[in-house]
Symmetry: C2
DNA sequence: TTGTAGGCGTTATCAG
DNA sequence: CTGATAACGCCTACAA
């Protein structure tokens, strides 16, 4: 049973294809009689007419498709953003294609090609591209927005997550709480990402500003397993080591997953408590951080708003307009997993 | 700058469009000279020729698009399946459109329509549809596969998660461990789903088979917040109540998220320990279950294999062939969160 | 082995 | 206000 075409509708309604098109699209600057309109609508309904998007695309070269690039779904951060994007685009009449790269440049490139082939109306990157050259090239054809870390030398619209500021915020907060020996926990995948590097820089900067020595921060990187859960594993295993030491009083996970792993570890130890003995915090504000007890202190970027903004930018972009660079103002979300350093009176020195 | 078309390539290569088409598609039963082939390939390369999928679709009515329906991304179970599906389809040259319904029938219907409009080559449902009539209708046009609970009266290809068996497995396991008073924890969204009902039936059946009274199982439902994290919240808050009682020795979450919430609660209590005082387990085998300490006992359905199977079914389906019904054979994954009932010698009675 | 020609279902430009 | 008619870019008999 073949699908009804606009021609069929026209025939049934006793009008021309053109008229059908006008009615279906509510074409402006065309006024048709109520009668014709109704006739067409009825016919369309009766035949269950659904416009063929191929034909339409051929004419309009609009696909109503958006490509969303992400490295993995294993970190809930990405599905969360994905969902925000989907929720918003659906309202605008666009659909979303999942472009999961697994941090594999080949896959990334393949999806980039796909974007052209399918004439996607826009591309949103939730991480820093690996094929920068190709992405920039693509951006001449299709609007691209990066929702990740900003790199000044990239000529692409980007909404920066402002990793530096995130790191600074967290570190300043811990420093104000009296912590003098802080650990930064990275999984090995972390090293890849610009965002994560920036977070580290931010932390270091806060320490410097506080007049403390660089040794205040110690960085630990766990070897990587193969699967995504290894981020939490990483946090757990590094924390196991750290528990043997007396000096560390605060732990910053490179993201919430790592922080979660670290927290699990401490929760399982007999002698240490969070936050009385160790403070733990992360970045991203994924839902996990509110599901644990204690709930995890973290940094949020108003992700939903940023996602909507990214969509707006991508859809509004008119050809090669000026490159837009925005930075989110991250917010520290203090919850239960952080507190004054042990042996401190605990006054919060912040302004 | 307009995209190159096959006509451009033909002109540059000094051949006809037809030849270009032949070369690009490696059309069988056509042998062209190495020379022409190379000429065309070079020209295509030089012009960065990418076939226009609209035009191609218009002829072939294939979109190389798959619609994946899921209720939410908040439960990691769904992103996990989504990722499995994406990983596999990408290899087969298909892309995936995220159809997130938020359990809202209107959205679901809208996406169903979209599937027709975009001529998707297949649709995979990761939950039980709400517009069964519409889905069945759609299935006459587009292959549909359900990866969820089987309902005998639904004329759709389905891979059943076999919720009944899942419930049975878990219950039998706990019963064998000597538990005589078991709680089943549901969030209020759970009540919607067929899968979850089946799990409950399976549990009850196991109890019956063990010759124990129905009161062995007590069912608790938490009121629903608005967001997805409330599944874990539900587990947590119900567990808070249960901790005040002495009778319950084992808790089954309607899914891993609920189980996780329950676990968090117990972990935070002073007097109870998992699994010594309470056993906790769930369903789905999401990555969270291995991230906690103790790791959570759960049921797995070999989801990756099932996802690939679903994709195969959807792509191989030739028109209205016979409806295929498969059932997964779920596997109990015993981890650290379950153990013998308190006061039991703890022998495992299982064969 | 290669080229010609027609059509897929829309939209858009013109006349009427 | 409505109706022919011509593309859009590709595929595919069929012809050469």
């Amino acid at each position: 049973m073949k699908r009804a075409t606009s021609k069929d509708v026209a025939k049934l309604a006793g009008v021309s294809q053109t008229t059908v098109s006008f009615v279906m699209n509510n074409t402006p600057n065309v006024s048709l009689s109520e009668e014709t309109r109704k006739k067409v609508l009825d016919a369309a309904n009766q035949l269950q007419y659904i416009p063929n998007s191929f034909a339409r695309g051929l004419k309009t070269s609009q696909s109503k498709l958006l490509g969303v690039f992400l490295p993995t779904m294993d970190n809930p951060y990405y599905p969360m953003l994905m969902q925000y994007i989907e929720k918003y685009t659906a309202r605008l009449g666009y659909s979303v294609i999942l472009c999961c790269t697994y941090r594999n440049p080949e896959r990334e490139k393949a999806y980039l090609d796909l974007c052209e082939e399918k004439h996607m109306d826009g591309v949103i990157y939730l991480f820093t591209p690996n094929w920068m050259k190709r992405v920039v090239q693509l951006s001449h054809t299709i609007p691209v927005v990066l929702l990740s870390e900003k790199s000044d030398d990239i000529p692409l619209n980007t909404i920066s997550l402002n990793g530096f500021r995130c790191g600074y915020l967290v570190a300043k907060y811990l420093l104000d709480l009296g912590h003098k020996s802080i650990a930064f926990l990275m999984s090995s995948v972390s090293s890849v990402s610009l965002t994560r590097t920036k977070r580290l820089e931010g932390i270091r900067s806060a320490i410097r500003d506080a007049g403390l020595p660089p040794e205040t921060l110690q960085v630990f990187t766990a070897p990587l397993g193969d699967s995504g859960q290894s981020e939490a594993e990483a946090g757990y295993s590094i924390m196991e080591q750290l528990l043997k030491r007396k000096d560390i009083t605060a732990v910053i996970g490179v993201n919430d997953l790592v922080a979660f792993g670290a927290l699990s570890c401490v929760l399982n130890s007999e002698d240490k408590r969070v936050p009385q003995d160790v403070s733990i915090c992360g970045f991203d504000n994924i839902y996990l951080t509110t599901m644990t007890r204690p709930k995890i202190t973290t940094v949020s970027y108003c992700t939903e708003a940023l996602c909507e903004l990214a969509v707006d930018m991508v859809l509004k972009a008119t050809g090669d307009s000026d490159v837009l660079k925005l930075a989110s103002e991250p917010q520290l979300i203090v919850r239960e997993s952080t507190g004054p350093a042990p042996g401190t009176s605990g006054q919060c020195v912040s302004s």
